[in-house]
C-alpha cells in the first residue's frame, strides 16, 4: 500500500507528489487526463490584483489576507508560500525560472495587455515591461494564435507604474513549414527543437532588426530543449529575446509538466493517467481507498493519505448539475460558497466579481477539508489547488501561487502526520 495517493496531475498535484516523495514517502499520482499545466501560460502568478495592481506580493499579501480571511493564502500562510516558491525555483536545471515573491514582473500578454507574474521561465523574463524599453514583436504567419501588431500597439499604450515609456513595432515572418498554413504553438515548438529550423528563423528575424530592440515572439521556442533554443536564438540575434504565452496548447506549460513529471517518475513515483477517481471507501473519519474507473472495472487504490488535487469547476471535479446542485465528485466533500437557490450565481457584467467564483472546498490551516460547521471531514485527506474555496484566481492572477503553495503545504501536513 502506498503512503500517499494524489488525485490530479496539475500544478498542485505534481507539487504535493514531489514534496512527499522527497520526504521519503511512496507516492502514486492518479489522473483522469493531463492537467492544468497544458492550458496555463507557464508562469507562477502569486498575486497580481488584490484588487489593484500588486507590485510586490510579499508586501501586499498580509493586507490582502486580512481583507480576505477565507482565501486559500490565509490558510497556507505567507511563510509556506515563500518556501514553496524557493523550492520550486530549485527544481530546474538548464531551463530555469527567475523571479521572487518580492516583486512582480509585468509581462505582455498575447493581446498586449500587461500582466503581473512573480516567477517566470527564463525565456519570458526579458519581456518585463516595468522599466519600459524598445521592442520588436515578431509574429509567425502560420500561427493564428498570435497577432504582433495588436500586441505592439497595446503595449506601447500601456501605463507602467514607473511611468517608463514603451515603444514597440511589429513584424511578421513566414518560417518554412512545407506549405502548411495552420500550425499550432506546439507544432512550431517541435520544429524549433531542430537546429536548422532555428537557424532559418533567426535569419528571417535578423533581416528586420533595428537598434537595440528586444525581440518578443509567441511562446514556441522549443518543447524538448527550451534552454538551447532560447539561448541559441538570443545568441544568433545578439539581443534579448523573450516569449509571450498565448492560447492552449501552452508550450511553457507543457515544458513544466514534462520536467516535474520526469522528476517524479525518476524518484520512483507511479503515474496512472486515464484513470478517473469516482468515489472513495471510508472507515469513520478516514479514507481507506479511492475507487477508480478502469476499463471493465472499478479498482480501489488504498493509501495512507489522500490528496485531492482534482481542480474546481473547470476540470469538472466540482460539478454543478443540471438541477443546479453542486457536488465534489471524489470524496463528496461539502462545497462552500455556493449561492442559495434563488440567489444570483453570476453578476450581469462579464468582468464583475461573480458570487459562484469563490465556491470550493473549505479547509483548515492544515488543508484538511471542513464541513459547513467547521468540523474536519476526514483526518487523512488534504485539499489543494483550484478546488479550494475563497479565491477568484483568474481575476487575481493567483492560480499557480495557490496551487504551488497549497501542494507544498499539504505535503508538510502529510509528513507531519506520518512522523
Amino acid at each position: 500500500m502506498r503512503d500517499v495517493l494524489v488525485v490530479g496531475i496539475g500544478m498542485s498535484g505534481l507539487t504535493a507528489a514531489l514534496r512527499c516523495q522527497e520526504a521519503g514517502l511512496s507516492v502514486t499520482l492518479l489522473a483522469k487526463g493531463v492537467g492544468s499545466t497544458h492550458l496555463a501560460p507557464g508562469t507562477i502568478d502569486v498575486l497580481g490584483y488584490g484588487p489593484d495592481l500588486v507590485e510586490s506580493p510579499s508586501q501586499a499579501l498580509p493586507r490582502f489576507i486580512d481583507g480576505s480571511p477565507e482565501h486559500p493564502y490565509a490558510r497556507i500562510g505567507v511563510d509556506a508560500l515563500s518556501r514553496s516558491l524557493e523550492w520550486f525555483g530549485e527544481r530546474f536545471d538548464a531551463y530555469r525560472y527567475t523571479g521572487a515573491v518580492d516583486e512582480n514582473l509585468l509581462l505582455p500578454t498575447a493581446i498586449g495587455s500587461i500582466k503581473p507574474s512573480a516567477l517566470v521561465p527564463e525565456s519570458l523574463s526579458a519581456g518585463d515591461l516595468r522599466n519600459g524599453g524598445r521592442f520588436l514583436i515578431v509574429g509567425l504567419r502560420q500561427l493564428k494564435d498570435f497577432f504582433p501588431a495588436l500586441v505592439a500597439q497595446n503595449i506601447a499604450n500601456a501605463k507602467t507604474p514607473s511611468g517608463a515609456g514603451i515603444s514597440a513595432r511589429a513584424v511578421q515572418i513566414e518560417p518554412p513549414t512545407n506549405g502548411e498554413p495552420d500550425l499550432s504553438s506546439l507544432a512550431f515548438a517541435r520544429r524549433f527543437d531542430e537546429p536548422e529550423f532555428l537557424d532559418a528563423v533567426a535569419k528571417q528575424i535578423g533581416a528586420h532588426l533595428d537598434g537595440d530592440e528586444s525581440v518578443g515572439l509567441p511562446a514556441v521556442l522549443g518543447v524538448q530543449h527550451p534552454h538551447e533554443v532560447w539561448t541559441g536564438l538570443q545568441d544568433a540575434l545578439g539581443r534579448p529575446v523573450f516569449e509571450i504565452p498565448s492560447l492552449p496548447p501552452s508550450v511553457p506549460g507543457m515544458r513544466l509538466y514534462e520536467i516535474l513529471r520526469a522528476q517524479f517518475e525518476a524518484g520512483g513515483g507511479r503515474v496512472v493517467v486515464g484513470a478517473e477517481a469516482v468515489g472513495a471507501d471510508t472507515d469513520g473519519d478516514r479514507v481507506t481507498a479511492v475507487r477508480v474507473a478502469a476499463a471493465a472495472r472499478i479498482k480501489p487504490y488504498p493509501a495512507g493519505h489522500f490528496v485531492l488535487a482534482t481542480g474546481g469547476f473547470g476540470s469538472g471535479a466540482i460539478e454543478m448539475g443540471a438541477n443546479w446542485s453542486v457536488r465534489e465528485k471524489v470524496f463528496n466533500l461539502p462545497v462552500a460558497g455556493v449561492p442559495e437557490d434563488g440567489n444570483e450565481r453570476f453578476g450581469p457584467r462579464y468582468f464583475d466579481a461573480h458570487p459562484l467564483s469563490r465556491a470550493g472546498i473549505r479547509v483548515d490551516d492544515s488543508l484538511r477539508p471542513l464541513d459547513d460547521n467547521g468540523n474536519r471531514v476526514y483526518a487523512n485527506v488534504t485539499v489543494v489547488g483550484a478546488c479550494l474555496a475563497g479565491s477568484e484566481a483568474w481575476r487575481e492572477k493567483s492560480g499557480e501561487g495557490i496551487s504551488l503553495s497549497s501542494g507544498y503545504k499539504a505535503a508538510e501536513t502529510i509528513v507531519e502526520e506520518q512522523t
Binding site: 492550458l39 496555463a40 501560460p41 502568478d45 490584483y49 500578454t109 498575447a110 493581446i111 498586449g112 495587455s113 500587461i114 500582466k115 502560420q142 493564428k144 494564435d145 498570435f146 497577432f147 501588431a149 495588436l150 500597439q153 497595446n154 499604450n157 500601456a158 501605463k159 506549405g179 502548411e180 498554413p181 495552420d182 504565452p245 498565448s246 492560447l247 492552449p248 501552452s250 474546481g312 469547476f313 473547470g314 476540470s315 469538472g316 460539478e319 454543478m320 448539475g321 443540471a322 438541477n323 443546479w324 434563488g342 450565481r345 453570476f346 450581469p348 457584467r349 462579464y350 468582468f351 484566481a393 483568474w394 481575476r395 492572477k397 492560480g399
Partner: protein, 531 residues
C-alpha cells in the same frame, strides 16, 4: 443636410423588411432598406429556426396553417439555400392526449398539409434519442431555416436589383409633406452622420417596434404587443428531424435541429418593452424540463446559449384581452394608413411569422403598387434568391466537406463552426463592420461549444488587421463581444458549459488579461448593452 433620393424606403431589416425590399427591388423599384442595428438582430435572429409546415396551426388556426404550407412550398423553391429539409414529426408524448392526433390529421388534410402517421418504432429507428413513451407519430414537411442566411440573401437580391441596404442607420423621424410621408431622417450610428432619405413611398416593417415608427409618422395607436419567448440552443443535434408535441400550441413544445445545434422553445410572456427582453431562471428550468419530455436525458446534455426573442402581435381591437399573447391572431396585419389615418405614402406591415414573410411582403408591395398606380407583378415566388439558384438545400455536413478541400491552404479560425480565415476576411471587408457580433451572425463565429473562447481572440486580431483599426477600437470590439456573449451564456451555466466558461475565463483573464487592456476616453462611456 445631405439627402438621398429613392423610390421606396423600407424601414426594418428583419425578415419582413428584407422581404419587402427584395420584392420591391425585384419589381424594378429603386429601393433603400434601413435597419438600426445589424440585419436580423431583432426577432428574426432570435427565433427557433422552424420553417412551418402549418401542422402546428392545423387544429387551432386554419388560416395560418394554410398560409404556412403555401409559403413552405414556395420558399423551398426560392430560398433553398437557407433551408435544411429535415422533415418534422408531431409526436404524442405520455403528457399528450392521443385523441388529439385524430384532430391533427383531420386539420392537416383540410389544409392540404402532406401528413402521414408512422409507427413509433420506425420513428425510434430514425431518431433514437426521442422518448420511447411516444405513442403516435405523424410526419409533416417541417424544415429548418436559417434566419440570417435568408435575410442576407434578400439583402443581396435587393442590391443585385440596384437597391441599397444601410445597416446601423437609426430612423430619427419620418418626413411629412402635409398628409404625405416623404421618407425619413436617419443617423448613421457608426459615423454619427445624420441625413435624409427622400422616398415616394415608405414602408414600416419594424415588427415589434412598428408602433414607435408609426407614431413618428403621425399615425398613432398602432398597438403591437410584445410576446417574449426564450429559446435554448443545445450543443449538438439531439435529433435530425423537427420534433413537435402533438397538442394545442403551448410552451416548450418544439425542438428544432438547426445547423449544428438543437433549439428548444419557447415561452410566451407579454412584456412592455421589446428592447428589454430578459431571461429568467424559471423560464430556463421550464424549457429544460420540456426538452426532457421530448428527449430523455435532455437536461444532462449541454446547453450553449439562451436568448429571448420578441414576437410582434398586432392587437386587433376585436380580440379578447388576454395575457397569453399566443391567443392573439398570429396572422399578420397590413395597415393602410391612407385609410386609417389619412396619411398617404405610408404602410405598416407587422405581426406574422417568418414562414410567411414573403407573402407578407407581396401583399405589402401589391398595396403600395395600387396606391402608386403602378402595375407591377410580384417576382419573388418565381425568381429564386441569389444563393438559391441551384435549388440545393443546406445540409449539415457542408462546411466539413468544404474544409477537406482547403485544409492545406487556409487557416481554421473558428474551429467549432469550421470557419476559415478567408471567410472571415471576406465578411469583414464586405460589411465594413467592426462589430464582432455582426460577424458572429454572418458566419456563426463563436456559436459553437466554446462560445468564442478560442476564436474571439483570433477574430479580434484579424479584424484589427483587415479593418486597419486602431488598437483601442479592437480592444473595445473584444470587450463588447465578451459582454454580449455573457448575457446569452450566464443563465445556462451548469455542467459542461460551466466548465467551458471557466476555461474561457482562464483564457480571457488568466492568459490574455483582457480586462486590463489600455483604455481611452471612449471607454469611459462603456458600450451600452444592446438588446
Amino acid at each position: 443636410m445631405k439627402n438621398v433620393q429613392t423610390e421606396v424606403l423600407v424601414i426594418g431589416g428583419g425578415a419582413t423588411g428584407s422581404g419587402v425590399a427584395w420584392d420591391a427591388a425585384a419589381r424594378g423599384f429603386e429601393t433603400i432598406l434601413v435597419e438600426r442595428k445589424d440585419l436580423a438582430e431583432g426577432t428574426t435572429g432570435r427565433f427557433h429556426g422552424l420553417l412551418h409546415s402549418g401542422g402546428r396551426y392545423a387544429v387551432k388556426d386554419r388560416l395560418a396553417a394554410e398560409e404556412c404550407i403555401h409559403e413552405n412550398r414556395i420558399l423551398r423553391r426560392v430560398a433553398s439555400d437557407a433551408i435544411e429539409d429535415t422533415g418534422g414529426y408531431f409526436v404524442t408524448t405520455p403528457w399528450d392526449d392521443p385523441a388529439f392526433g385524430d384532430k391533427f390529421l383531420e386539420g392537416c388534410r383540410a389544409c392540404e398539409i402532406p401528413v402521414e402517421e408512422i409507427s413509433p418504432s420506425q420513428a425510434f429507428q430514425d431518431e433514437p434519442r426521442i422518448n420511447r413513451g411516444i405513442s403516435r407519430v405523424f410526419t409533416v414537411p417541417d424544415a429548418a431555416i436559417d434566419g440570417w442566411k435568408l435575410v442576407w440573401d434578400c439583402a443581396k437580391a435587393t442590391t443585385e436589383h440596384g437597391g441599397r441596404v444601410f445597416t446601423y442607420h437609426q430612423v430619427l423621424g419620418i418626413l411629412r409633406a402635409g398628409d404625405v410621408v416623404r421618407g425619413a431622417k436617419v443617423r448613421n450610428e457608426l459615423s454619427g452622420e445624420e441625413f435624409e432619405i427622400h422616398a415616394d413611398f415608405t414602408i414600416n416593417a419594424t415588427g415589434a417596434w412598428a408602433g414607435k415608427i408609426a407614431d413618428m409618422a403621425g399615425c398613432p395607436g398602432v398597438q403591437v404587443l410584445a410576446g417574449k419567448g426564450i429559446m435554448i440552443a443545445m450543443n449538438h443535434r439531439l435529433v435530425n428531424t423537427v420534433i413537435n408535441r402533438c397538442t394545442m400550441p403551448a410552451d416548450g413544445d418544439i425542438l428544432v435541429p438547426i445547423r449544428t445545434v438543437s433549439v428548444i422553445g419557447t415561452t410566451d410572456i407579454r412584456i412592455k418593452d421589446p428592447d428589454e427582453p430578459d431571461v429568467t431562471q424559471d423560464e430556463v428550468d421550464r424549457m429544460l424540463d420540456d426538452g426532457e419530455k421530448l428527449v430523455p436525458g435532455f437536461r444532462k446534455a449541454r446547453a450553449l446559449r439562451v436568448w429571448a426573442g420578441v414576437r410582434p402581435l398586432f392587437k386587433d381591437a376585436r380580440a379578447a384581452e388576454t395575457t397569453d399573447t399566443r391567443d392573439v391572431s398570429r396572422s399578420h396585419a397590413l395597415l393602410d394608413h391612407r385609410d386609417r389615418d389619412g396619411v398617404a405614402g405610408f404602410l405598416t406591415i407587422t405581426g406574422g411569422k417568418l414562414t410567411t414573410f414573403r407573402m407578407m411582403a407581396e401583399e405589402t408591395v401589391d398595396m403600395m403598387c395600387e396606391q402608386l398606380g403602378a402595375q407591377r407583378a410580384c417576382r419573388t415566388s418565381a425568381d429564386p434568391l441569389p444563393s438559391s439558384k441551384t435549388g440545393k438545400f443546406m445540409w449539415l455536413g457542408e462546411r466539413l466537406k468544404e474544409r477537406e478541400a482547403t485544409m492545406h491552404e487556409d487557416q481554421l479560425i473558428c474551429e467549432c463552426e469550421l470557419i476559415q480565415r478567408s471567410s472571415l476576411e471576406r465578411v469583414m471587408t464586405q460589411r465594413s463592420s467592426t462589430i464582432l457580433d455582426d460577424i458572429r451572425r454572418a458566419l456563426r463565429l463563436g456559436m459553437g461549444p466554446c462560445q468564442g473562447g478560442f476564436c474571439m481572440y483570433r477574430a479580434t486580431g484579424i479584424l484589427h488587421d483587415v479593418e486597419r483599426m486602431d488598437s483601442w477600437a479592437a480592444n473595445r470590439s473584444l470587450r463588447d463581444f465578451l459582454q454580449e456573449r455573457w448575457k446569452g451564456v450566464q443563465p445556462i451555466l451548469y455542467g459542461d458549459q460551466l466548465r467551458q466558461a471557466r476555461l474561457d475565463d482562464w483564457i480571457f483573464q488568466g492568459v490574455l488579461d483582457v480586462e486590463h487592456l489600455p483604455t481611452d476616453q471612449l471607454d469611459d462611456h462603456p458600450a451600452s448593452d444592446r438588446a
